[in-house]
Amino acid sequence: MNVTPQKTKESKARVGERPGGYRMHLMLCAGTGCVSSGSYKIKDALERELKKRGLSSEVAVVMTGCNGFCAQGPVMVVQPDEIFYQRLGEKDIPHLVEEHLLKGRPVERLMYTPPAGKAAVPKMSDIGFFEKQRLLALRNRGLIDPEVIDEYIARGGYKALAQVLTEMKPEEVVKELIASGLRGRGGGGFPTGVKWKTCREAPGEPKYVVCNADEGDPGAYMDRSIIEGDPHSVLEGMAIAAYAIGSSRGYIYIRHEYPLATERLEKGIADAREYGLLGKNIFDKGFDFDVGIHRGAGAFVCGESTALMASMEGRPGEPRAKYIHTVEHGLWDRPTNLNNVETYANVPPIILRGAEWFTSIGTGDVSENPWGGSKGTKVFSLVGKVHNTGLVEVPMGISLKEIVFDIGGGIPNGKKFKAVQTGGPSGGVIPENLLDLPVDFDQLTKVGSMMGSGGMIVMDETDCMVDIARYFIDFLIGESCGKCLPCREGLTQISALLNDICNGEAKEDTIELLEELSNTVKECSLCALGGSAPNPVLSTLRYFRDEYEAHVKDKQCPAGVCKALITYSIDPDKCTGCLLCLRNCPQDAISGEKKKPHKIQADLCIKCGICRDICTYDAVVVR
């Protein structure tokens, strides 16, 4: 069956009018997070209960992609009222069906309650976490069943592809993309339209369109979530790119550890083929395009463009010098357009609503220069020491403060905010006095960090900045391909210097040497992994130098993290002599009698922290 452009244009876009004539839809999250916290058990329970109550023909359960608020999973949104339920358990279901679905009384107990507030917030869009978000790439989040192509089409899907094929010349598509100011969401922030133009004009046939779904940042899952929740948005974006640059072959390079996303893509591709949206002569316009899936080799560095292509060609996934660009000499030496998942997902709305609309969101001015600003939105994975962790899509230019405090709900346990690290493992940390910074490509780079693919880790006063830098460097050591000297040997030596600092073995000049070495690794490495790897060190040196100096000169770790530099003791004024720590110390290092202040014997203490965690009176002091 062929979807005609006509038919796609007619399709309805409101959820209330989802196919099937149900009175209510239970949009239950089937993202990786909620699946692992049991959303399929909830699904079964719901269906059982609906059947029992005779509601099966009135209320439908729809399994959606990730909703973003993963920490609260399994989550479910009841449409059309948009009531948000979280942390659902099987035993909650009969009550919920009875109260809400039958009697029309939403269940407060299962709703979200903000950390400071008392009252539960029923509507999803009133929850702080969702309020400031703006969904473009995730426009269908929680609204469709990603495995049903009709639902994508019903929400305006493939309309943009129809439009470019029937009404636009490839050059016009490229022009529209340049005018939109869309910049690559995979890290580099390169203007997408400019890349398409270069690829279009590069000599050589055939040309390839490749989607980078390698997503190697630990803890980041923006791309996985887009693919799991809305695979067709990526396929449609790729098809439009292919038309614009003159390609008929696409590949998706997907991370090996993403089985669910891969499955959804496979189904999506098969369905699109069946509907004539992929394959030969799409929309009868003589345009051919098909997509294949390539499973990643499983290393962080394989996400780098030249390494990715080497890996696709069956060679070791190692970067090469990029003095000759992959848009001209890419996969099998042919012109190749590589974009990130989120970049492609942004393309259909730009086509449908126009570049002008897109440029109204974001910062700067891209009318003269595509590098002149950051337009549209960006998806971030917000993790670390914040109340609301999860996946958020926000307009470019939003301040860090709004993300951390309004969306993230601030720092838990009454602790103080210290810094936020953006851009994945090789991003930089940004301190409190820069919290008003508008988040966009250029501002983040200016303060020594980067957009990266959108990781965002919040840290509080109990995080030691030297230890944090060491943590990231140690991750990157394991991910470096080891080809070039500065990255391979340099990161190893950076780690050794950081270890010296954390262990109190650093010399007076260690900090300067660390800085000198970090600069060399940054400037001289072959690829951007080594080129950005020292960012965690350089940015913490820039904003938290006093903390480094305290480690080196005073042999102290102000955050109380570096074991060699801290001692545990008990504050006799706070200790009630409850014996709890004494019983739990694995070293028997604590002595004392009931109702008398206890004491820690320093030579036995291994600084495991159990006593501090267990003490109800906050009497254990770390210095």
Binding site: A321, Y323, I324, K483, C484, L485, G490, T492, L517
Partner: protein, 429 residues
């Protein structure tokens, strides 16, 4: 081929578009430290020692010269403080990895580093330059070596860590290894000694097709073998490297003379070619043709002799006439080409490659090279020399510079021409 104009350290230079910058840099006699590069292999760009700054428009960036493509209008700086600083830190990193390797110590010393501020945890001999892996793949074609593991666990091994049947014991990997860590061919000949009957023990060069069929009489002790030594001496490098396609620049014809544009020329018609940190010397085609078929060569310096410009280097005997070519630069002799002394006809066959005469360690080659004819100037210079010689000979009734013209020149005229063109007189420097 398109030529582009660039500036390197303020000097104008032409280069083939997209050819690696390093070639243009060396053509000016400027030495840039390199470790992971040898001519003829695809550039790899991993040691990062060859970094230079390039400026295009307002933007200055740091790039590796061994693989950065030449472009019109580039402004290149090979020795800025930024470049020197990074080279020093990288030399320290290398030293921390390979503290006991003489080649690495030398390279570090050449950028001013004697000692590393970084700790050595596990000293290694291999600096992971990848030359062995690449030579075996790209030139030998055997692909018997590969990298194993990644990050700081990376090492050179054989694919899947098995004893590779692929190795043909050519020794090219050992030859290019800058640290002496590689000895793959020894493992292979060890296996041959075990497995092959003596009538199957084909000489390794016969296996490579470089000599005709020959059974090894030496139990594969190549370093003591005449065959091996003859080939190395004749070719001046590892035989496979010398003969690999793409390695040799083809000579260009200028009138009746051949020139190759990858080297410098002295006003006395010797050539000087920069290799990693030494230079090779020989006589050019003009000298060879003016002198005539070489009957005997006498070198005036032996290894470790120091010389200065104008000191006699070699005396050539032809048709009973003698011409003494002189050193164009100052330095110390490193090796002499024994093959060409034994068989002077090599000069007539191939004066630019196999007929080389000496390898020397120059004193500050960069400064000295400014007095030499560079590859951009050589064509017009030889053309001028050729016209001047033609006029000179015409006065003596020799009309054309046809092959063998030298034999028509009388003894007296020969001395005068030698003095004028080959600067054979002691006072001409």
């Amino acid at each position: 081929m398109t030529e582009v104009n660039m500036k390197i350290d303020g000097r104008d230079v032409k280069a083939e578009q997209r050819s690696p910058l390093l070639g243009a840099i060396r053509s000016l006699g400027i030495q840039v430290p390199t470790l992971c590069h040898v001519d003829g292999l695809e550039p790899y760009g991993v040691c990062r020692m060859c970094i230079v700054e390039v400026k295009r428009g307002k933007r200055t960036r740091l790039v590796t010269s061994c693989n950065f493509p030449s472009e019109e209008g580039l402004d290149v700086f090979t020795d800025t403080e930024r470049v020197r600083q990074h080279r020093r830190v990288m030399a320290e990193l290398m030293l921390a990895r390979c503290p006991d390797v003489p080649g690495i110590r030398e390279l570090a010393a050449s950028v001013g580093v004697e000692k590393s501020r970084f700790k050595t945890t596990e000293p290694s001999d291999c600096v992971l330059c990848g030359l062995c892996v690449r030579v075996c793949d790209q030139i030998v074609g055997a692909s018997a070596l590969s990298f194993i593991d990644r990050g700081n666990q990376r090492a050179v091994g054989t694919p899947w860590s098995v004893d590779p049947d692929a190795c043909i014991a050519c020794g090219a990997c050992t030859y290019v290894c800058p640290t002496g860590a590689m000895h793959m061919e020894e493992q292979t000949v060890e296996r041959w000694r075990r497995e092959l009957a003596s009538d199957q023990r084909l000489c390794r060069y016969a296996r490579m097709g470089l000599i005709s069929y020959k059974i090894c009489p030496n139990d594969f002790r190549c370093s003591e073998c005449e065959v091996d030594q003859r080939l190395f001496e004749e070719l001046g490098t590892h035989p496979l490297l010398a003969l690999a396609p793409g390695l040799r620049k083809l000579p260009k014809q200028v009138g009746p003379f051949d020139v190759v544009e990858d080297r410098f020329y002295s006003r006395g018609h010797t050539w000087v070619k920069l290799t990693r940190d030494q230079v090779r010397m020989g006589m050019d085609d003009f000298a060879r043709k003016l002198i005539g078929p070489v009957e005997k060569l006498t070198l005036h310096a032996k290894p470790d002799d120091a010389f200065k410009p104008g000191d006699p280097a070699v005396t050539v005997l032809s048709n009973g006439r003698k011409a003494t070519l002189r050193f164009p630069i100052a330095g110390t002799v490193a090796h002499v080409n024994q093959a060409v002394l034994d068989d002077p006809a090599l000069v007539d066959e191939d004066c630019y490659e196999r007929g080389w005469l000496l390898v020397v360690r120059p004193d500050d080659f960069y400064a000295q090279s400014r007095l030499l004819v560079n590859r951009d100037e050589v064509e017009s210079w030889i053309e001028g020399q050729s016209q001047k010689l033609a006029q000179n000979l015409k006065a003596k009734g020799i009309d054309e510079l046809t092959p063998g013209f030298a034999e028509k020149i009388g003894k007296e005229d020969f001395a005068r021409l030698g003095d004028e063109f080959l600067k054979t007189g002691a006072e001409s420097k």
